[in-house]
Every structure is written in C-alpha cells, then in structure tokens.
Subunit: 347 residues, 2 copies
Amino acid sequence: MKIAIDAMGGDHAPLSVVEGALQAGVFCPAELVLVGDEEALRALLPDGISSGVRVVHAPLVVSMEEFGPTAIRKKREASINVAMRMLAEGEVDCVVSAGNSSAVVAAAKHFVGLLPGLKRPALAVSLPTTDARPILLDAGAHPESGALHLAQSALLAHMYLRVSRGIERPAVALLNIGSEATKGTRAVQRAYALLHRSSLNFLGNMEPHELFAGKADAVVCDGFVGNIVMKMCEGFSEWMMGELGSRVAPRSTGLGTALEDLKQGLAYQHVGGAPLLGVKSPVIVAHGRSGRSAVSSAIGLACRITRDRICEKMADIEQGASAVDFKQFSAMVFFENFKTRWSSAPK
Amino acid sequence: MKIAIDAMGGDHAPLSVVEGALQAGVFCPAELVLVGDEEALRALLPDGISSGVRVVHAPLVVSMEEFGPTAIRKKREASINVAMRMLAEGEVDCVVSAGNSSAVVAAAKHFVGLLPGLKRPALAVSLPTTDARPILLDAGAHPESGALHLAQSALLAHMYLRVSRGIERPAVALLNIGSEATKGTRAVQRAYALLHRSSLNFLGNMEPHELFAGKADAVVCDGFVGNIVMKMCEGFSEWMMGELGSRVAPRSTGLGTALEDLKQGLAYQHVGGAPLLGVKSPVIVAHGRSGRSAVSSAIGLACRITRDRICEKMADIEQGASAVDFKQFSAMVFFENFKTRWSSAPK
C-alpha cells in the first residue's frame, strides 16, 4: 500500500505535512510518498529516514487563492497534479492533500475520473454527535449545487455507508430550513422531489437543530452550506467551552476534564480528513489549517479507506440505474412544482 | 402606540400567541390588536380583559406549507394581510407575526412597501455571542440571493446599526467559506467586489468560526445560510449542554447554574423576534415554533423598535446614492471577475 501526500498543500505546508507524515509513519503500514519541492522537503526530513517515507519532486504549487480548475491546467507540474497522476497510473493507492480544495477536486476529476454517470464528487465529513455520527456531504467540494447534484450526493452517501458501515438502507435526509417540501432554495425543493421518487431510504427535510438527534445516517446539502455547518461546529464549540470555562472554576469541579474530552471529540485535528466520494480511487482532503496531528489523522483515514477497498466496492455496486432515474425525473419534477405552486384552488 | 399581532400565525397559534400577548400586555405600553378568527380568539381571552387587548376579525389563515407570494394574493382576508393593511393605513404602528415567514415578507412588501431603491427586505437576528452581539442578516426572508441583494443587506445592516446602536461606521463582513475574495458562490464573490468598492466599512469575508470573536458588527449572507446558522446555534447549544450535563454531576458543581445561564442567553424564546429591515414601517418576525414567552419577547422588541422610531430614522438616512452605486458597479464587476479568472499568466 502506497499513499501520496501533497506536501506543499495547506496553510502550514510543507513543515506540518512533513511532521504529520513522520508521525503517521509510526502507526501506518503504508509507504508514504511526499510530493513537492524536493530540496525543501529533504531539508525538513531527518537524515537516514529513507525507510517508509519517499520524496517525489514537483516544482510548482497551487496556492490557496487560486481557482482550482484553471490552476491545475496552468501548472501542470504542481504537487497536487503530480500526486493525482501517480494515483491515476497506479503508482500509489491513495492521495492525501490539505491544499486548495477546489484544485484537489478538479485534479481528481481530471486525472483519476469519477464513477460512471456521476456529475461531481462530494466531500463527506462526520458530524460530531455522540453515537451515530451521521455524515454530512457535500462539505465543500463545490460551493454551488443543482438538484441533480444534491440527489447524486445522497446516492453517494447511500453507497458509502453501505460499503463502509454495512448499513443495508442508510437513512438519508436533506438539510433544509423547514420540514415542508416547499421550503428552501429551488435546488433543494427539486432535490426533495427527486429523492422522494427514488428508491433510497429518504427521510425528507431535516432542520439543522435536528442534526444532533442522530435520526439520519447521512445529511445532504451543497458545499457552501456544508462547509458553513462544519466550521460553525468548530467555532461554536470553542466559544462555548470558553464561556463555560470562565463561569465555573474548571479545576475544582472536574469540568476541566469533561470540556477537554468534548474538545478532543470535536476538534478537526482529530477528525483529520474527509474522503472525496465518487472518485474512482481514494482521495482524502484535509483541513487547510491542518497542523501536524491533523495531517497524521488524515493519513490514518487514508490507510483505513485504502485497506478496506471502499472505492473499489462503491464502484462494484450497481448504481447506474439510479443515476439515470434521477435524470428522467428532473423534467417531470419541474412541471409538477409549477402546477402545485400556481394552480391550486384558494381555500 | 398600537401593535397588530397575527394571532393565527405559528405552530402553536392561536393559543400561544394569545397567551404571549396577555403576558406582554403587563409590561408593554402599547395597545395590542389581535388579528384572526374572532370567535376562536374570544374563546381564548379571559372575560373582562377589554383594556389593552383588542380583537380584529380575519377569516382566513396562511398555513406554514403555502408559498407566501401566491398565498397572500389568493387569501385576501388572511390574518397576515389584514394586519399588514392596518399597518399600511396607519391604524397600527407595528406588526408581529410568528406565521409563514415567506407570507409575512410578501405581505410587507406588497402592502407596506420598501425603502426607495431597495430590492428586498432582510431579517436581522442577534448572534448569541457574549458582548458584541453582532447581527446576522438575512436570517431567512429569502432563501436565494444575488450579489446585489447581499450588498443591499450590508447597507441595511449599516443603516440599522447606525440608527439603533449609534455606531457611526459599523463593521460589516460577508459570511463565506474562506477569507480569499475568490471563495464561495458566484453571488458571494460578486457581492465581495461590490462591497469592496462601496463606502461601507467592509471587513471582507468572515468564516463561521470567527463569528463568535466579535470582530464584525454585522455579518451578511443569504436567507438559506442565515437560517441554517441560526438553527445550528440552537441545536448545537442544546446538544452540548446535554453532553456536558451527562458527564459532570451538575448540582454538586455549580455547572447547573452556568449551563442554565448560557441556555437562557441562547434560547430563541428569550431572543423572541427579528426585525424585517428595509420595510417602511416596523415588522417583527418571530420563530415559527414560538411558545408563549417567545411571542411575549417578540412583542417587547416590537415596542422598543416602534418607540425608538427605528424605521423612520432609517428612511431619513441619505441612502439613495449607495443603492444606485451598487447597480452601476454590477456590470463592471462581472467583467473584472472574468478577466482575473481566465487570463492571468501562469507563474
């Protein structure tokens, strides 16, 4: 098993990425391939650590400010491109990157390719609830989504949970601002109609305050909303810990430990990375702000997903039928929406 | 001072609305006008309470499932329409409703009208941070927004904070999934460009985890995202209280009191309602799930906003110039985005 790591991606790259890889090397059975500026990377690696960590040179870097789809075409030799090409050609089994996520997504689509019939990949994160840990997707692969993209994300969630957690018919919900089918943006309303007619175990709309009740196995939204939700969890927990900590003397009460426990469970350093579902081979996207331990956790996740052959199993599920279904329904739903909205009789 | 209350709007209407009005009647100096089915309302009111609370008959109700803009046109005599007509004709000074918010927004636009040059009103809620309490808008008046809508929301926030809190140049930020100008949806990217060129004190993009740091006075987003953020705060705080409560014995440690304090500060029952900014006269939208105390708080807010003449003062500020500015910039920004995205030279 070989894992390529985009050593130049992330706010604290390449230092934190190299440190994270060395940390992960201790427990991870894979050979780690650091892709990036060879000179800079060699300087960061301790002498004589040839076993387990290898360096592959890539002269360019896609920065966080660039627009992914154009950046990966202009900078052919960027670290993320080199890593994805290695994945596409079978030289490595998985890619991990904390870099510009739009570039990671674009490079994955361009070099590795998607499952047949799929329009887009989606980034799936685990929500920090106690037991069930529903997944939320898309957590930021594409900020804007149409109805078909949302419906296909639900399908990806279904396939992923079936393969990775063994749930036969995972319960999938749409994140919305009301429970009624008429609430939300037009894309969400139409996705509701598509999913309602599909063979998935669709629970309907779910409001954000229900996320933590653990009713659904997966919650679907567009990448902008998903990313907002994820970062809200982060920010709100930090703020609330601070608030509570300042009101109660932490050491005397055991509250200190409880807060610390909760913080560990919520912190993105420990969650690490998110799988980019729908790509033919495993790609793990880590938080742009990843420090050493976040990178190390992301590599750990990459090891598990590669070992369990999640992507291969997802490709094996017969999913072509559902993907086509959604397309046929699309036009029908448009006319039905139109009818209900404008022609129902006044009460 | 007279306040009309849509007695038929909300999940627990009319009971909780009537109870809330009676509770507010104790401290609120205004005459309260309950608008709704007279028979049903009379049955809920205790005998002999003619002073302070009046009933105006409206035979129809817009339910939570309906699409506001069409519902208010079909049901001419719905309670929300009757209340808004009274506001437009000067019979009352303010309207409070916990009903279908798309209907409240549509009726406010249709009967009362907006400030000159404005495309849409926006719902402004206070975020539950400790000191600064930044406002977030739009919190759900319109689920979808273009760049101009977002920019005008920022202008509304500027005007509202100047008038209500006396801040000369309120700091306004855009809620986004990254700090760079190129992040987020196309609407948010273009709103960034518009605000960057405006005379407002624009801080740039703000990520959700920074919301609680209290840097901005107002944070702007579309109604879908705003509503999600608001309900995330609600749900996350409830979940986290439960989590912490189960790990630490609350009574023995004083944690119980601390949690209770925090809960009070966050609960929507105590925040109550949100002003619909941009409408010529004051309109307060309460949470659909409002119980008695939430309705009472919303009426309290209505009293303060009406007493302080916030809407009149907002209309007095010279704002026409800025509203026009945004329109002229709109086309220019489109071409600039196009240029930066597709024609910059590779590094």
